[in-house]
Amino acid sequence: MRRTDKYRFWIVIALLVALQFSVRSRLGSARVAPDFLLLALLIYSIRSPAGVSALAGFLVGLAGDALTPATFGAGMLAHTLVAYFASWAKAVFFAENLFVNGCLFFGGTWVRNLIVALVSGKLKGGMLGWELLVWSPLQGLTTAIAGVVVLVMFREWLAVRRADA
């Protein structure tokens, strides 16, 4: 791998982080808008060892919790679990396929929201049902679409061998 490829990968990650804090608020309801930060974490995790992914997930969760202190800790736990298992599952089960990656983005978003909702204890009864059956799937879908678009647009830049990431 060329040295510049590594920088390109981080440029894409930085772009996603910037999108999270600049464009996301203009993409409609926060419940449905794609989570670019989680997308960056998942793209990073499926190319990284499980331990590093877990640490990255923990830091992303910490950043998210710092912005929403009411659920402090829930985001860390959720992102750690999602990042770790995304890395592990990608290594064990999945092939390099656009559709599979899309499903991973969708599932990762839904599971993250499920863990946050359950652990934080903020949602109960019908609201929890709506969150898990309506809003989370919708956000998973938009995140998956955004992820597929990113993978297609930056196919060459993101084609980093796992051992080098």
């Binding site: 910037a18 804090f21 600049s22 060892p49 499980a50 710092a66 402090f72 990608k90 290594a91 051992a163």
Partner: protein
């Protein structure tokens, strides 16, 4: 893409994972004040550039929304300003009409000149008062400035008015001081001169100065005396025994939006002499 090393999760990976999980659980169990302290510290340091980026983005969005709102307000203000002169003019006309109504006291029917959406005879008008309001044929239709025309056809709710520009219009007229009598008629039946009047039948030996106000004379019993018709502009032509004078009408039909229709005969008719109401000279008997 090459997938992983020989082991998908080494002991080190598992240890890091467990530590992260433990830290997460510890964070959740921290006291509220400590949580808020950590969160605030992160927001003020590591996350500050990202929050500023978010703030800039929000400002940009709200600035555009504010700009759009200001543009809309400016357009509304421009539209209102465009209508302002017309509204002022109409207000002045209505005030003048109210003043005329008060001076007349009684014997009139107020009416509005109705908008005619289809091309019709431009020399006639439709007004919003008819038989039910007490309008009768040949009643004088006046505006604050003077005579506009005569009612020709009366319906239940509306009336058709022949303006002074109509070829069939005639009115017995005199100078405001009563020194000269004649017949007022449209100056021409076509072209721009259709919007002028002429005073016919003035004996050759009599002269009428430019600017003399011409009013209805009341002779013939159709129109009351003293309604302004126009002012003398000059001599239009001369014959062996008479001079015909050009008269600038007191009011243009297009300028009238609200009018008064004078009652005749029935109920409480308008006074026979309206020179006082219109503020013209009363020297003549």
């Amino acid at each position: 893409m090459a997938l992983g090393q020989d082991r998908y999760a080494s002991r080190g990976d598992t240890a890091v994972f467990i530590v992260c999980i433990a830290l997460s659980l510890v964070s959740m169990s921290l006291p509220e004040r400590m949580r808020e302290g950590i969160a605030a510290a992160l927001r003020d340091t590591v996350l500050l550039p990202l929050l500023e980026l978010q703030d800039q983005s929000e400002q940009l969005r709200t600035s555009r929304a504010r700009f759009t709102a200001v543009m809309a307000e400016r357009d509304s203000a421009s539209l209102a300003a465009a209508f302002l002169p017309e509204l002022r003019a109409e207000n002045d006309r209505l005030r003048a009409l109210l003043g005329l109504g008060q001076r007349l006291g009684s014997g009139f029917v107020p009416a509005e000149v109705l908008h005619q959406s289809s091309p019709v005879d431009p020399l006639t008008l439709l007004v919003s008062a008819g038989h039910k309001a007490g309008v009768t044929p040949l009643a004088a239709v006046v505006a604050p400035a003077g005579l506009l025309g005569i009612v020709r056809v009366v319906n239940n709710e509306t009336s058709e008015v022949v303006t002074w520009a109509h070829p069939e219009f005639r009115a017995s007229a005199m100078a405001a001081d009563g020194s000269v009598f004649g017949i007022v008629a449209p100056f021409s039946t076509e072209g721009p001169d259709v919007w002028l009047l002429e005073l016919r039948g003035v004996p050759y030996r009599q002269t009428v100065a430019n600017g003399t106000v011409i009013v209805t004379s009341g002779l013939g019993g159709v129109l009351p005396r003293g309604i302004p018709i126009g002012t003398i502009m000059g001599v239009a032509r001369e014959t062996e025994w008479e001079r015909v004078y050009l008269v600038l009408p007191a009011i243009h039909p297009a300028a009238a939006s609200h009018v008064l229709i004078l009652r005749t005969g029935v109920g409480r008719p308008a006074p026979d002499d309206l020179r006082g109401a219109f503020g013209v000279g009363t020297a003549a008997p």
